[in-house]
């Protein structure tokens, strides 16, 4: 797929630490790209560089095959993690101001704001001061302001924080809508469930290095451990007794009726072999492969990278 936005070998140093070292990302057009990483990994630095708030020390950025330049700011919508609006300013006035700063004419901004305020059912807030709104309400206003200039690249940093479940769903829907209508989205979050739900591709950054990237599906596939969950009955004895010795039994729980078990197969053994080994003894009710969650992958990868780097540091010592 054609990449809409790409960053190549970005390095950013501050006085006492390096925020990014040689990080590259490729964001395909009309996709949702997850930018993941533990706190302080360098995500915000990268996002600020994409927004041209700061510049990289090394590396190049391309927006729709052009070198990234100040004209592009009007095509980018940015929802920062730390939200904020002018507290004393009226909601409508403020939305108009921020839209105009993104290059939308007052007239167009007015029209679009009216549409979005209606859609989010917040018309009544137009003349209220921001400080009169609850935090969730402010977030809604901020979301509208982020997308009001129809940006072709959207950057959401923890968009769901501070929303109740109903509004999280509303927001997810809007984000998917935006993608389906042609926008390319970079999405940074610690909520791995929403990554699985929304993201097409991800990059995982840890301690200024990119340690993992690819499509969510492919990554989860590579992290599969050949583990299966099954439910059965008509056999009350321990599963170990009927399981080939070199199959690993991770979990076994007996209910009144059904027994649930998790089995890890050695590499090269297919699930069919497991089923054929068991079928003479049990009545199988369900059988699913356990695919690791992004959460597991995140924790595993980050821990591995951290211990690797400590090891290599120790080796150096």
């Amino acid at each position: 797929m054609e990449s809409y936005f790409s960053a190549q070998n970005i390095t950013k140093r501050y006085a006492h630490h390096t925020a990014l070292s040689g990080v590259s990302i490729e964001v395909p057009k009309q996709s949702i790209f997850g930018l993941l990483g533990p706190n302080g990994a360098g995500k915000t630095s990268l996002i600020r560089i994409i927004n041209q708030i700061t510049g990289p020390d090394e590396g190049e950025l391309f927006f729709n095959n052009e070198k990234l330049n100040p004209r592009h700011t009007e095509m980018i919508g940015y929802l920062p993690e730390e939200r904020g609006l002018y507290k004393k300013m009226k909601v409508g006035e403020q939305a108009l101001y921020l839209a105009q700063l993104k290059g939308v004419s007052r007239h167009d901004a007015m029209k679009k704001l009216r549409y979005w305020f209606e859609k989010f059912e917040i018309q009544a807030w137009w003349n209220k001061k921001v400080e009169e709104l609850s935090k969730g309400m402010q977030q809604k206003v901020q979301f509208i302001v982020t997308i009001i200039h129809d940006p072709s690249l959207l950057i959401f940093d923890e968009p769901f924080s501070g929303f109740d479940p109903i509004n999280v769903n509303l927001l997810k829907e809007e984000i998917l809508n935006l993608r389906n209508n042609g926008a390319t989205i970079i999405f940074s979050t610690h909520n791995m469930a929403s990554v699985e739900e929304l993201c097409d591709n991800i990059a995982l950054i840890n301690k200024s290095h990119k340690i993992l990237e690819g499509s969510v599906k492919a990554i989860r596939k590579t992290y599969k451990t050949n583990t299966f969950a099954l439910e059965y009955n008509q056999y009350k004895g321990p599963l170990r007794a009927i399981l080939p010795a070199y199959y690993e039994l991770l979990d076994e729980q007996q209910d009144d009726d059904l027994t649930k078990a998790t089995v890890k197969l050695p590499a090269g053994v297919s699930q069919n072999e497991l089923i054929s080994a068991l079928l003479p003894h049990i009545a199988l009710h369900s059988f699913v492969e356990i695919i690791p969650t992004m959460n597991d992958i995140f924790i595993e990868t980050v821990n591995k990278a951290t211990s690797d780097s400590t090891n290599s540091q120790n080796a150096l010592l």
């Binding site: 904020g84 507290k87 300013m89 101001y97 993104k102």
Partner: protein
């Protein structure tokens, strides 16, 4: 470029719509007008009769000063020293001495007193003297014009020449007279200290303090605005649309326009209030009807409407004693310089304030950075006391050239008259310095606004100057 105007517009409108701005705009002129009006009003209230001896060597003004409820003029014929001695002896209020003019017409007088002479008395004396001299001049000019037509003409009488037709613009310009009235205070031992500069001192000090106040007030507004943006975290959204420098300049310029608006509103409102006061209070100060000034007994029969009209025009300069006393100052330069020094001084300090605001996380952290920035300002206001007593001295000169103090000190000096080259040098240096300051501040600002949770030191700020965009 368009975006910086959006920022300016927001900064401007969000401030002028505030209640505090509106209250200040109304209260300021009331206070200032009060400063003008109350002393005059109080002076009129005092029912003490003031005795003024008049020693008129020219003989032009004999019986021209009219006794009023507050002033009693007495004409004396003595030499100056005796008259002065007599004044102390009989506890008179003041001695007006009009020496024989070196030129053709008298244009100068000296007023001796023990206490400071009230400003309305001075105004009255100047007005009466000016009117008298102008009358005489007008008479002479008209006589000249008539003689052009009729060389045989000796004096006014019944004749057919219309006098109105003879009074031209040129004549009126020629007869315009400025009386210089020097006031000398006699000390207890007869020591004489000149005090004619008190109006200049007052105006200079007032302008200096106003600049000081404006720089602080609006500089602090810039700082608070920057901190507000940083604390509310909106800054990150905004700098993804505009460059940090544009945001900073937009704020500084927006607040400058607020200051300018306030200043102009104050000027207009103060003048309005003072004018209204003068109109409403009949007989206030020395406002006189033209017919009274051109009273019978002058050598021109006051029959012509034209004369009355022109007299009004002449008289308008002396509408009130205060404006008469203030009239010696060049207001064009004064107001121009005020606006320049306000803007340039504010830009210089406003840039520093913006940088400070960007470097800290909240207002309490600003203390350590505020100190070095405010010291020159405070020094300037302290030095103003020295400068006002010696506006030509080396201290006055250097402090009005050095950009960090020049906005205040130069404003103090201007009413006394400053050579143009000094003014130009001072303004030039200030301009260069504020451009430099804005540049430096911009570099601190763009790093500072995105830096959270860190106690910033001077060393750190120094490093920020060299960060790459």
């Amino acid at each position: 470029m368009n975006k910086i105007f959006l920022v300016i517009k927001r900064e401007y409108l969000s401030r002028v719509q505030k209640k505090s701005f509106i209250v200040m705009t109304i209260l300021g002129p009331l206070l200032m007008a009060g400063l003008f009006i109350v002393p005059v009003y109080l002076a009129q209230m005092s029912d003490e009769m003031k005795k003024i001896d008049v020693l008129d060597e020219t003989g032009w003004f004999m019986n021209k000063f009219e006794n009023s409820s507050r002033f009693n003029f007495e004409y004396v014929v003595d030499d100056l020293e005796t008259a002065k001695a007599n004044l102390s002896a009989k506890k008179g209020y003041a001695l007006l001495y009009i020496p024989k003019p070196s030129a053709t017409v008298p244009s100068a007088a000296v007023i001796y007193s023990e206490k400071q002479v009230s400003i309305d008395l001075k105004g009255y004396i100047k007005t009466v003297m000016a009117k008298e001299v102008e009358n005489q001049k007008l008479g002479a000019e008209i006589l000249k014009e008539i003689r052009k037509v009729n060389p045989e003409y000796k004096s006014f009488g019944n004749d057919s020449i219309s006098r109105e037709s003879l009074i031209s613009e040129e004549i009126l310009k020629n007869i315009k007279t400025n009386i210089s009235l020097t006031s000398i205070q006699m000390g207890e031992e007869g020591k004489e200290a000149k005090s004619y500069t008190e109006v200049s001192m007052g105006v200079g000090m007032f302008a200096g303090i106003l600049i000081y106040y404006f720089i602080f007030l609006f500089g602090a507004q810039v700082m608070r605005g920057v901190i507000e943006e940083k604390v509310s975290r909106i800054v990150e959204v905004i700098v993804s649309s505009v460059k940090p420098f544009q945001l900073m300049m937009g704020k500084i310029v927006g607040v400058a326009l607020v200051g300018l608006t306030q200043f102009l509103l104050w000027l207009v409102l103060t003048l309005t209030i003072v004018t209204v006061f003068q109109t409403v209070m009949p007989g206030s100060v020395d406002k006189k009807s033209p017919t009274e000034v051109f009273s019978p007994g002058t050598r021109i029969p006051a029959d012509a409407e034209a004369i009355t009209e022109q007299a009004e025009a002449v008289n308008s300069t002396g509408m009130s004693a205060i404006s008469e006393a203030l009239g010696s100052i060049n207001y064009g330069i004064m107001i121009f310089s005020f606006i320049f020094y306000f803007l340039a001084g504010y830009l210089l300090y406003g840039a520093f304030f913006a940088a400070i605001g960007a470097a800290v996380d909240n207002e309490t952290d600003t203390q350590q950075f505020m100190m070095p920035v405010t010291i020159p300002l405070i020094l300037a206001i302290v030095m103003a006391q020295v400068v006002i007593n010696n506006p030509e001295g080396p201290i006055a000169f250097w402090f009005s050239i050095i950009p960090f103090t020049s906005p205040i000190i130069m404003m103090v000096r201007i009413p006394f008259g400053v050579p143009y080259w000094q003014l130009a040098l001072s303004m030039g240096l200030l301009t260069v310095t504020f451009i430099g300051a804005v540049w430096l501040a911009g570099r601190v600002y763009r790093t500072g606004i995105l830096m959270y949770g860190k106690k910033v030191t001077w060393g750190e700020m120094w490093k920020w100057l060299f960060y790459k965009g």
